[in-house]
């Protein structure tokens, strides 16, 4: 092997290591992120570390679901369902709280650095 061959092997190794590194980095979410799912499909990711108030609209099973964020908290403001349980729930702000809009098949989870594996209740 001459110098160029060795260089090529080093480059290939670096690319391989870099890919692995990127693969692992992208596995982790940002601190305090809200993830919104429609059934199993992740449809929106919101960074909750912003101090701004924002409004989002996602499509649920029964139509639009209006979502509001404020200072690290998130809530459902309006949706079409018989009992409106998820709009009545109000803001959630930690990973042990989840908003589940059962008729609309919308789930809002918060990912933060909390070490709990699950919450029962």
């Amino acid at each position: 092997m001459n110098k160029n061959d060795i260089l090529l092997v080093i480059i290939i190794c670096s690319v391989a290591l870099f890919s692995l590194l990127m693969f692992n980095i992208f596995k982790n979410d940002n601190p305090k992120t809200a993830i919104i799912y429609y059934e199993n499909k992740e449809i929106l990711k919101i960074n909750l570390t912003d101090d701004e108030t924002n409004e989002y609209i996602v499509k649920g099973y029964n139509g639009d679901v209006k979502i509001n964020t404020l200072n690290g908290k998130i809530k459902v403001v309006a949706e079409n369902s018989p009992l409106h349980l998820c709009s009545k729930q109000g803001y959630i702000s930690s990973s042990y709280e989840t908003i589940v809009c059962l008729p609309n098949k919308i789930i809002i989870k918060i990912i933060d650095d909390d070490s709990l594996d699950s919450v029962i209740g």
């Binding site: 092997m1 001459n2 890919s19 799912y37 199993n40 042990y96 709990l116 699950s118 029962i120 209740g121």
Partner: protein, 312 residues
């Protein structure tokens, strides 16, 4: 030429190695399911290669029990409820009914699966959020002797069987066996009030919700089921009184001995049945039942006291 070949081979080996690592690298895969009138969160640690099959199979297992026990759809259970006669039923349904009948005796009648008609009356009131059922409306036959089981043959009359107090536990037991057969060690499945966890180096940390808001406490568990019963999720209020969904078969009214009770056991069916049964009795009586059945229990009393007993 030989050098070039050598470099090509080394490159190919490295690329193959990266692909293998990416495909077989274990990480957490999740899915959200909706069965048994509840949201189910599934987290399994496995390879990308296996993940689709595993998550699909878990979905199928929940779906199987939904089609077996949902009283409000064309399920296997619906075909025998409110009918008169002898019917042949599946092994799983017969096993769940058998376990329930045994627990009827163990609990001196508190765990009664022939309570479907009473549950329906309360459900109607909970939906309308108006009024309380009258004594006449609740004067329904819930005698457990209306159900008799011989192997896979069931004879029923005046029976409306509700398996809601154990089916989630029974499904999670099956999931545990399934995941073991697929050599999956790390998992957390949360089906409403039922959580099952696998094995990992450090214990799983499970939070127990405080019925008054926030977290009540946390438990560290490995290879266990944690089941909570409480009257704080499905309820309605009328004239300042809260009426929830866990009904005492003797009074036919919601039970109010405590705010919540959590049972921890390796056997998920037992944990599920016991959380309902313990919710229907005083904490003192519950301690005796917990001791004779070797489970760990965390009661949250009406005076906001956390009482823990470990009989495992």
């Amino acid at each position: 030429m030989a050098k070039k070949l050598l470099i090509s081979v080394i490159s190919l080996i490295i690329i193959a190695f990266v692909i293998v690592v990416i495909v077989f690298n274990e990480q957490e895969y999740t899915s959200n399911l909706f069965y048994m009138d509840t949201y189910i969160s599934v987290k399994v640690t496995t390879s990308k290669y296996k993940s689709n099959v595993i998550l699909n199979d878990i979905d199928k297992i929940f779906n199987k029990y939904e089609n077996m026990t949902n009283r409000y759809s064309d399920s296997e259970l619906s075909k025998i409820n409110n009918k008169v006669g002898t019917f042949e039923i599946s092994n799983e349904l017969s096993d769940m009914i058998k376990i329930s009948l045994e627990w009827y005796n163990k609990s001196n009648g508190l765990f009664n699966i022939n309570i479907g008609n009473i549950v329906d009356v309360w459900k109607k009131y909970r939906t309308n959020k108006n009024g309380v059922p009258t004594v006449d409306e609740l004067n329904l036959d819930i005698n457990i002797d209306n159900i008799s089981l011989y192997g896979n043959k069931i004879t029923v009359k005046n029976a409306n069987i509700d398996l809601g107090a154990l089916v989630k536990g029974y499904v999670t037991n099956e999931l545990k066996s399934y995941l073991k057969s697929k050599n999956i060690k790390k998992y957390v499945i949360n089906a409403g009030g039922n959580v099952i966890v696998g094995n990992k180096k450090n214990d799983y940390k499970i939070g127990i919700q405080n019925p008054d808001g926030g977290l009540l406490t946390t438990v560290n568990v490995n290879n266990k089921c944690v089941v909570t019963s409480g009257g704080y999720e499905r309820y309605y209020e009328y004239n300042g009184v809260r009426y929830h969904h866990i009904i005492n078969p003797f009074t036919k009214f919601p039970s109010n001995y405590m705010k919540s009770v959590t049972v921890i056991s390796k056997d998920c069916t037992k944990a599920d049945i016991m959380s309902t049964t313990l919710f229907l009795m005083t904490i003192e009586d519950g301690k005796k039942l917990a001791e004779s059945n070797n489970v760990k229990v965390i009661w949250y009393s009406n005076d906001n006291e956390i009482i823990e007993e470990n009989y495992e």
